[in-house]
Symmetry: C2
Subunit: 174 residues, 2 copies
């Protein structure tokens, strides 16, 4: 799994994976159906974690802004907890059926965020400094980019990210 992250899915061979597991390639095939099955399981785990946030009570009740803050915070938490799986999800290009399935579900998740951003703007809770659809994309991009550098132990990260998103990454002093 960690092999997929460091080298990339396509550049990682079953030989690489089995060696990392300390067994031969044949033995490795005894435990896992194949390369795509491994990928599929990892993508499912990441997507299940993300969609679970949307079903929580705090994500379905209250003002659009409060729900949005809760979801962003939860998104960072899932990213922390399932880092390798979410990382893999965010790097999928759509080369196989499993990858295309994951891309579609990811798009559905992002669309829910985008519609919530729009609702918060229309409710007058946040300012529309930039187009709501653009704001939603930049928001998702900022959150997702965390997988590129996060290492376990930074417990205050979710709150910091929420602050950066809603108060400004680099707000003017004064």
């Amino acid at each position: 799994m960690g092999e997929f992250i460091t080298r990339g899915y396509d550049a990682t061979s079953m030989e690489d994976l089995s060696r990392a597991a300390g067994i031969t390639k044949s033995s490795f095939y005894h435990h896992f159906a194949g390369k795509d099955a491994l990928l599929r399981a990892a993508l499912e785990r990441a997507l299940d974690g993300l969609f679970a946030i949307l079903d929580e009570p705090a994500a379905t009740t209250g003002s659009p802004l409060a729900r949005l803050r809760y979801i962003v915070r939860g998104q960072v938490t899932v990213l922390q907890h399932d880092l390798p799986y979410v990382t893999l999800l965010l790097r999928v290009r759509g080369n196989t059926e499993s990858e295309r399935w994951a891309l579609e579900r990811r798009r559905a998740f992002d669309a829910q965020i985008a519609s919530l951003v729009l609702a918060a703007v229309e409710a007058g809770e946040i300012r529309a400094g930039v187009e709501p659809a653009l704001a939603a994309r930049l928001l998702s991009g900022l959150v997702n980019s965390i997988v590129e550098w996060y290492r376990p132990g930074r417990t205050e990260l979710p709150d910091d990210v929420v602050r950066a998103v809603f108060d400004g990454i680099l707000p003017a002093a004064g």
Copy 2:
């Protein structure tokens, strides 16, 4: 080139590239030294474009905040102009010597941004709502994430991004 973007570098074969060019694989090798040479040239182009921003007068004179705003704006402009090259750069994992070279130069670029963020905070020009090093990472992540969805034609994007970064992606209303 576009093949590397849609399928990923590792999942794209020389056969794929030559077919896209309308010639056989052998003929393709007559024009290009090999797969790594293609990657290397693309990465160089992306990095040259990014580092060129740092050498411009507006990026080396004036207050840290003004320089930072100029660089962020320029970064988005380079990303728009050299989209496939920058996209490739941001997806490199470090599997070959060329990739490791590119990763190192990218880190040097990000480090310059980070030190400028720190200078702006210490000069009292921006607030330190979050740790400056974290703010710099989120800033780079937000900007880089644009390659995931940008399509030509959105000329006002650099200004919008600067606004989102310095005024807040989703600032509170009022």
